[in-house]
């Protein structure tokens, strides 16, 4: 029960923190982090989201890019030092009174790969509750600003596997795909109660909208990428892929959950009643596979020191699930789940993702920018690198999905074919309005 209740507040806390993790900072390359998350050439998100880049020659020397990057996860050492007995650590044991779901959520949403050199302080203001027989008011102090006014959530669209073979620009493969999406939105009454310190009213419903979905499968894919015009130094490249999505399974729930106050707030037999209703749809693995067709397109233009690309993914990717079960659940005084209909056809849609990038390299200087949108707001990166002999200096700025500005900086040292890179970046989570700074380190092989 305690976990359930705490979880409700946790959702509010974690939602905002998750967005940058999903969309921006799941990067293990200290070089890229030092440039504010910027993707250059064949690194990072560019190849993933722009199929034309498969044909663009790697200009490793031009961009100072390594062939291989090996992350050095100092953060894991720090994490294990702080939690030496993880299996018996009460903070991670749901059965323990010291169980800390926020720590668990933060550890999952922000994997401890990096060294936290400056931690973001959590709010330390007092929270005041004014209670009477028929009165309840909450004043969260400064923490009230952390209560999200708008919809918030976590979403991701990934392609974990993509084996295949190609010939003369054509490629045939089978791509794994996974899409998840969790959204919450506080209702007006709950928002006013938490954020604006409005007194609780009698016979009033306080609730939040909840949406969650996860779907995955594989997709036989035929793709092409090639130079349409020009040569290796001045060329126009185009790429495209057609996927036949085959869905192994999906689950989706949409609901509205909260509580209803009684005729008096703190008196009577039922001062507060939980109240929730959801519609759940799912097609389990083993059911008839979902199916759908979608595609990716991309173009890239390389002209000497300038490189520009645009890529769009999962265009028209609507998955039809022929064997779906729908259940409704309602909770007020007691809960029940009722089958609405079984073996029916439902459809889901993968979010369209796009990336636009530009890079400019002159001498030992590389500058670049990219915009990436994976269906939940755009992330912008602008950064650059200056190589000076054995050394490299980097800097960058990013705007995350919550439109917050973050900064990255770092440097590198290269000895022949081996390099050591260090990158710092600021990040902000919903627990604090102050930025934290983390440090990433990686080895590069050139």
């Amino acid at each position: 029960m305690r976990i359930l209740v705490v979880g409700f507040g946790l959702v509010v806390l974690a939602g905002g923190a998750a967005a940058p993790a999903a969309g921006q900072w799941l990067v293990t390359d200290a070089r890229r982090i030092g440039m504010g998350g910027l993707s250059l050439g064949r690194s990072g998100s560019v190849v993933r989201y722009n199929p034309a880049y498969r044909a663009v020659p790697a200009q490793a020397a031009l961009h100072g890019q390594p062939k291989v990057t090996i992350p050095i996860p100092l953060g894991i050492i720090q994490f294990l030092h702080e939690h030496p007995h993880l299996s018996s650590d009460p903070a991670f044991d749901p059965k323990s009174r010291a169980f800390n779901p926020i720590l668990v959520a933060n550890s999952i949403l922000n994997l401890p790969l990096y060294l936290e050199v400056k931690k973001a302080p959590t709010p330390t203001n007092d929270v005041a509750f004014t209670i009477g027989r028929n009165f309840l008011m909450v004043n969260l102090g400064q923490a009230a600003t952390l209560v999200p006014e708008d919809q918030f959530g976590i979403s991701g669209s990934s392609r974990p596997l993509d084996p295949g073979f190609g010939f003369k620009g054509f490629r045939v493969g089978v791509m794994g795909w996974l899409h998840d999406d969790v959204e919450f939105q506080l209702g007006d009454t709950l928002l006013g109660f938490l954020r604006d310190s409005q007194p609780a009213d009698t016979n009033t419903r306080y609730s939040a909208l909840v949406h969650g979905m996860v779907e995955g499968g594989f997709a036989p894919t035929v793709s092409y990428a090639g130079r349409i015009a020009g040569d290796s130094t001045h060329g126009f490249y185009a790429g495209g892929a057609v996927h036949y999505y085959m869905g192994v399974g999906y689950g989706r729930t949409d609901g509205d959950a909260g509580f209803i106050t009684g005729t008096t707030i703190f008196a009577g037999p039922t001062p507060v009643k939980p109240d929730g209703r959801t519609l759940t749809q799912y097609s389990k693995p083993g059911n008839t596979l979902g199916h759908g067709i979608g595609g990716d397109v991309g173009v890239a233009w390389v002209s000497g020191p300038i490189e520009i690309g645009v890529g769009v993914n999962d265009i028209g990717a609507t998955i039809t699930w022929p064997d779906t079960r729908l259940d409704s659940a309602f909770y007020r005084d007691s809960s029940y789940s009722r089958l609405v209909v079984n073996h029916v056809e439902t459809k889901t849609k993968l979010p369209v993702s796009y990336i636009a990038n530009v890079a400019y390299t002159v001498g030992n200087t590389t500058l670049g920018a990219d915009v990436l949108n994976t269906g939940r707001g755009g992330v912008v990166h602008v950064g650059g690198e200056q190589r000076i002999g054995l050394f490299a200096v980097r800097g960058g700025v990013a705007r995350d999905q919550r439109k917050r500005i973050e900064f990255g900086w770092g440097g590198g040292l290269r000895f022949g074919g081996l390099g050591l890179d260090v990158g710092f970046w600021t990040h902000t989570n919903s627990l604090s309005n102050q930025r934290a700074i983390t440090m990433a380190t990686s080895l590069s092989i050139y």
Binding site: R2, V5, F8, P101, I131, G132, V138, P269, T270, V272
Partner: protein, 177 residues
Amino acid sequence: MNAKWAGMVVLTALGVGCGQGRAIFNVDVQSFLKPSGRDTVPYLVPPLTSAVGSTVQRINLPGVGSSIVDTVHAVGTARFINSGGSGTIQVQLYVATDSAGTYNASALAISLPPSSVPGPDVPINADLSSTVNSVFTASQLWARVVAGGTNPGATTLSGKMVLTSLNLRIVVEDKLF
């Protein structure tokens, strides 16, 4: 079950405002007492004796689980509406997790010095005994308001004590997480 759910609102709020800060509950005790008339404690003390009158009332709280109550401070006013005689009335407050428990000596939370009656309103401004702190972590508690009278005179002391206000400030160390 419902008592636990009553804490959902507060726990949600605490979840949002968690950290090293404190949770402070300002409880208007008088609002619980007044509708049932238990804000009024009649007293009737025969000459040259002592007697005690009291009322017991349940008070619902959100409940703060395993959190630790740091301090509880009471602020209020007691008014004596004397109808006969003279003497002293001592205001006391007992709190416990059940009504019977409020009759235990260990449940004594506040004991004001005896006040002369007839007399002016008596302010209440005192920390509750720390021995009762744990009572305030529960989702409900029972409070017994006592008017203990002493009558040294030859006329029966009678009247009623009215709590015109009583607010508790409960400071909780946030151990919810």
